[in-house]
Amino acid sequence: MNKLHFFILLPLFLFVFSACGDDDDNGTPTGTLEIFFEPIYGEDRGLISPTTNFSYASGNDIRVIRSDMYLGNISLGTASATTVLSEIEYVSLGEPKMDESTGLTDKFLVLNNVPAGSYSFFEFGIGVPPELNSKTPSDFSSSHPLARGGNYWDAWDSYIFAKLEGRLDVNDDGLFSQNFIYHSGQDELYRILRANIPLTISEGGTTRLKIVIDHEKLLINEDGEFVDIEETPIDHSAGDLALVRFIADNYGRAFSLELLSQ
């Protein structure tokens, strides 16, 4: 299976033609896009879990317990137009379960009413796009993903875009006594990822994608620099975004895409 990498897109060059809202009832043939997530850690692609150890760059063992994020403007596009399939989704990737027979996890999104056709790229943002981030949970009725009060941070005037939490075995005694909690937010940390991938949605059919997220690559950049978890175990306050910016800048390397079937 071909593995594609994402590149981070500068929002400046984006021209988005929103197609959501103008529904199926105008007779456009549609299909379904299923997106499966595989939250892993490291080369061996082990699934993250609160009871599975991986080795961290500091030399200690690490466990990734929570990995939540908003995905904004999930889109398919061609050279001439971008179709937004969903403006906002919230995914919680912690404690995934793999179905051994299908090789797929229980973490997935199903997007219906996707206009049938051939596309040349798949794209989404990590976080809440600025036009939605200017709103607050009270602008939504209570079951909307953006009504989740626990994901809005007053002190930032922003939604919490992504939460990465886990434990580090700082004393190498198996007790994992160092917790880490990294929450990102604010417009400047919104990142758009695009993968150039030829993809077809056929009428009444289902196209399946898999997004693999390597959590090791979130914490370590391409130069081998890594987050000093012991030094900064918690980062979620206003005014200091350096650490969460480091993580956000690693998204492009940490996320990869596979086309499973179409």
């Binding site: 607050t136 949970p137 009270s138 209570s142 079951s143 989740r148 002190a155 306050s237 200091d240």
Partner: protein, 370 residues
């Protein structure tokens, strides 16, 4: 009395009974009563989320008033002694002071009575463990529960059908044509409508500060900044992660480390684990609102902390974490906060701003039988 006469008499009696029954059925007709429900407008405080109301149960004045009567009426309990309001007492923030709920005949339940303040905003399951999803569904459970009201639903429905005032009210609320259309769905709908109007908090000191009508004292501001981790220079109390404004609740299932167990399966009440069947959900319970906590006592699902000071001391201590990390599902935000007595004082000063008793003078929330 000879035998033949007896038979004729019996025949006449039966005819009479039959005729009477027929007449009762005619009496069950409600269609002559006007059905003209008026929309009930919810007053949701500024800056709060919109409440989702099921399309098949819009709020009407008549529905809410019917629900209100039912909520306060012991007719829904086996021996006519207990109503919803026996446990969900308005003056106690629609909860009660017992650590564990006490039902019919003094029967002890298993958990603390939940506050129904702002319950209509909960969209992620109800009860401490999320075992039921909608207010309509939850409204019927306590009636049948042997340790709550212990009345079979058929019996409850029969009582309402036999009750002239309720029959009329069901007609006015739902447009039924005959008493025998009163059923459990309509009972649930009426109770749910009433519970959706239980809204409080908009007139708390805190909301007044948010609207610019009041300002924080220095201590309150310090407490608020600790509560929300808003200031690098003050201690983080982390509360807002799980109890965020305006509802001071995120409605998620979390283990906040109150129960000292070494293994997940040792949790005396599995909580969310019993609903999902997943070991890692053992000991997780739903976060709840902090609004009007001052009207309540005995906090958490098992009522273990009598006062808010006890609660805050728990969080400050970092709670209980199993030694073996494999058995540990306590949220990572539960860790020793190391607040000193001045910081604890300021946090309490902030928490006291969350009281709003104006709902007690809302006539629609008062006991109609008083």
């Amino acid at each position: 009395m000879n035998f033949r006469f007896g038979l004729v008499f019996l025949f006449l009696v039966m005819l009479f009974i039959y005729a009477c029954k027929d007449e009762v059925m005619n009496e069950g007709d409600l269609s002559f009563i006007p059905f003209d429900p008026v929309e009930y407008k919810l007053e949701i405080p500024e800056g709060w989320p919109q409440m989702e109301i099921p399309e098949d149960n819009p709020l009407t004045y008549e529905g809410v008033q019917l629900g209100r009567r039912l909520f306060f009426d012991p007719i829904l309990s086996l021996d006519n002694t207990i109503s919803c309001a026996t446990c969900h007492v308005p003056e106690k923030g629609f909860s009660d002071n017992n650590p564990i709920a006490v039902g019919i005949g003094g029967a002890l339940g298993t958990r603390k009575t939940m506050s129904l303040i702002n319950v209509g905003f909960n969209q992620n399951g109800l009860l401490w463990d999320g075992a039921v999803m909608t207010l309509e569904e939850q409204s019927l459970h306590p009636i049948e529960d042997p340790v709550e009201m212990n009345l079979p639903l058929e019996e409850a429905i029969q009582r309402l059908r036999d009750h002239e005032d309720y029959s009329v009210r069901f007609r006015k609320a739902f447009g039924i044509g005959n008493v025998d259309e009163i059923n459990k769905d309509l009972l649930a709908k009426a109770l749910a409508q009433f519970q959706r109007i239980i809204i409080a908090g908009g007139e708390s000191q805190f909301e007044k500060v948010m609207r610019g009508e009041l300002s924080f004292t220095d201590e309150q501001l310090n407490g608020w900044e600790m509560f929300t981790d808003a200031n690098r220079l003050v201690v983080d109390a982390e509360c807002a992660h799980c109890h965020i404004r305006p509802l001071f609740n995120i409605n998620e299932y979390i283990n906040n480390g109150i129960t000292p167990v070494e293994r997940l399966f040792d949790h005396p009440d599995p909580g969310r684990g019993a609903v999902t069947g997943r070991e890692r959900d053992y000991g997780k319970f739903r976060t709840v609102t902090l609004i009007n906590w001052e009207l309540r006592k005995n906090f958490m699902h098992d009522g273990r902390f009598e006062t808010m000071e006890d609660v805050v001391n728990h969080y400050n201590s970092g709670g209980h974490r199993p030694t073996n990390p494999d058995e540990d599902n306590v949220d990572l935000l539960i860790y020793p906060l190391n607040m000193d007595e001045f910081e604890l004082h300021d946090l309490m000063e902030f928490l006291r701003m969350l009281t709003d008793t104006t709902f007690l003078s809302n006539p629609d929330l008062q006991n109609p039988f008083l």
